[in-house]
């Protein structure tokens, strides 16, 4: 079997049987990355020497395999997450020369568990986008069809996993930025409960919504990465002190039997025909495996998009005020006063979509508009949260398509921001409610493009979420990634 075909669990088996060494595996992934990345532009930085040196160190720690749950696993990290010594541009020109002075807690935990960082993934600038066309370093292409977008904002992280450049990657999800690209690239993507994973060392977009999560080839692999990095962190006061279960242990007894799956049919309007058909077939598969379906309603979710596009830009306009031409990276070279220096540095180095969201937030928070926009949106957010609380009294998980469409053609939605924002219609409410969601591949459309199925869980109940998603994978059957060499 080709090395690239192995999942994390199979790779760990091979390591424990001493049939492979981390340096061979990392070298092999770096080779694939070098071959495919010029076409896909999924990864912005590699550091072959550093990654191989780390892999060689791990070669000599073979006796510790049992204590290192991600021993020798090559991973890619979204470029808005800090890894000491590596760049962290967040896809923006304003951070083009930024070198991380420290490592984010989530990455530190993965590295301590034996993972090897082999690249920094391209993304929409400051994680704002649904197509990865808004990166200052060029668009990412979808490995299933390079004329199409990989989704966003963690498009590079999703494309890297789909193109077998790495075994898992980290993304960040503020309104769907892990799950939607996972869906469009045919991989698994998990957005944990808000507060489950530390945001220390993650460049902030909207602090009440941002959450880091894994992208991987299957639910077991994503669960392994997640269980290693989740949990309380003294550097992030929003992390929960709740114990993190060993999710991969719980998966051993996972079953679809008697799982009550909530389906909000009133929410399914506007879903593309083939996506809807595949979603319905997935529900039937779950029922055949013993799940029970119940109808639930989420009446306020139709307002989620408007709510999100007030709250997230408001938080972004505040968070991104720090990029001022003085503290970080880019500074305008035009001679100017202090105020002009701020305006010119930001004007010259921040991209179009980010400027739009900063201005939206500035407008919504400005004198005379605060009550009508920000406070109103927060009240509607309460209603959305209550809808989910009520729905979860009837079911243990919910199912919905991840995205209303499969991967769209590059440029197709560039002229109208609302058309682009609608790509996240099924993922945004989950961030507003702070609950976890996971996208799992569930089929393909006629063009052969992957379709994602999203499961939604209760606060801090990733165990049920992952068990259901894993059980679904078993009834769905094998899922193949796009063939190597096609890209």
């Amino acid at each position: 079997m080709s090395l690239q075909k192995l999942t994390i669990s199979e790779l760990l088996d091979a390591y424990s049987r001493r049939t492979l060494k981390p340096s061979e595996v990392v070298q092999s992934y770096l080779n694939v990355l070098a071959k495919s990345n010029p076409t896909l532009n999924a990864v912005l930085q590699v550091d072959t020497q550093r990654s191989l040196a780390r892999a060689k160190q791990l070669d000599s720690r073979e006796s510790e395999i049992a204590k290192l749950p991600l021993y020798g696993v090559p991973i890619v990290i979204k470029d808005n997450i800090l890894v000491e010594g590596w760049q962290a541009t967040a896809g923006s020109k304003i951070l083009e020369n930024y070198r991380s002075p420290y490592t984010a807690t989530c990455v530190e935990r993965l590295e301590n568990a034996g993972a090897v960082v082999i690249g920094k993934a391209n993304c929409d600038e400051f994680a704002m986008g649904s197509s990865n066309e808004h990166s200052a370093y060029g668009a990412v292409k979808n490995p299933w069809d390079i004329s199409r977008v990989p989704g966003g904002s963690s498009g590079g992280s999703a494309a890297a996993v789909a193109a077998q450049m790495c075994l898992a990657s980290l993304g960040s999800d503020t309104g769907g930025s892990i799950r939607q690209p996972a869906s469009l690239c045919g991989v698994v993507g998990l957005k944990p409960t808000y507060g489950r994973v530390s945001r220390y060392g993650v460049i902030a977009y909207a602090s009440s919504l941002d959450q880091v999560g894994p992208l991987a080839r299957n639910v077991w692999d994503a669960s392994r990465v997640f269980e290693v990095m989740a949990g309380c962190d003294g550097h992030d006061s929003t992390t929960s002190a709740q114990t993190v279960p060993r999710y991969t242990e719980l998966l051993k007894t996972a079953s679809m039997k008697n799982v009550v799956v909530g389906v909000a049919r009133d929410w399914l309007e506007g879903v593309e025909g083939e996506v809807k058909k595949t979603f319905d077939e997935s529900l039937e598969l779950m029922v055949s495996a013993g799940a029970k379906l119940v109808d639930v309603t989420l009446p306020s979710s139709k307002h989620a998009l408007a709510t999100y596009y007030i709250i997230a830009p408001c938080e972004a306009s505040s968070n991104l005020a720090r990029f001022d031409g003085i503290h970080y990276g880019f500074r305008s070279q035009q001679k100017s006063s202090l105020n002009d220096l701020y305006c010119l540095s930001r004007g010259e180095a921040i991209g179009a979509e980010v400027k739009l969201r900063i201005m939206l937030g500035t407008y919504a928070l400005s004198s005379g508009y605060y009550d009508a926009y920000y406070l109103k949106a927060n009240r509607v957010r309460s209603l959305i949260q209550k809808d989910f609380e009520k729905a979860f009294t009837q079911c243990s998980v919910m199912a919905i398509p991840t995205s209303p469409t499969t991967a769209f053609v590059m440029g197709e939605k560039s002229d109208d921001p609302i058309q682009m924002y609608l790509s996240d219609i099924f993922t945004l409410p989950i961030n507003l409610a702070g609950i976890p969601g996971i996208s799992v591949p569930c089929g393909k459309d006629k063009a052969g493009l992957p379709i994602g199925l999203q499961f939604i869980g209760k606060h801090f109940d990733e165990a049920t979420l992952l068990n259901t998603a894993h059980s679904y994978e078993k009834v769905r059957g094998q899922w193949d990634l796009p063939q190597l060499g096609v890209v």
Partner: protein, 97 residues
């Protein structure tokens, strides 16, 4: 639709210099999004509380102990212009002020 003056006022509050083409673009795009989010006006939120915090079951506290981060020197080196541990900025007031 919002006016050119509105776009320039918001850009100034947000400390963003815009080109003439950008002003035209944002007049269109800001107008489009602001029209869309008017949707919320129709939602009855009388008596509904604010969701200013996402519900987390517990808030973590660390021990109240001073910890050295040792990061200041590394952070300042990332600034475009710095000297002796300080950020360099243009004069805040002009000489004739």
């Amino acid at each position: 639709m919002i006016s050119t003056e509105d776009v320039l006022r918001i850009a100034s509050l947000a400390r963003l210099s815009l080109t003439e083409n950008e002003v035209v673009l944002y007049q269109k795009h800001l107008g489009r999004v602001l029209d869309y989010i008017k949707d919320l006006e129709s939602v009855d939120t009388l008596g509904v509380g604010l969701a200013t915090h996402v519900p987390t079951d517990s808030v973590a506290f660390r021990e109240d102990k001073a910890v050295d981060s040792h990061l200041a020197a590394a952070l300042i080196k990332l600034a475009p212009e710095h000297e002796a541990g300080h950020f360099i900025v243009p004069a805040v007031m002009d000489a004739d002020q």
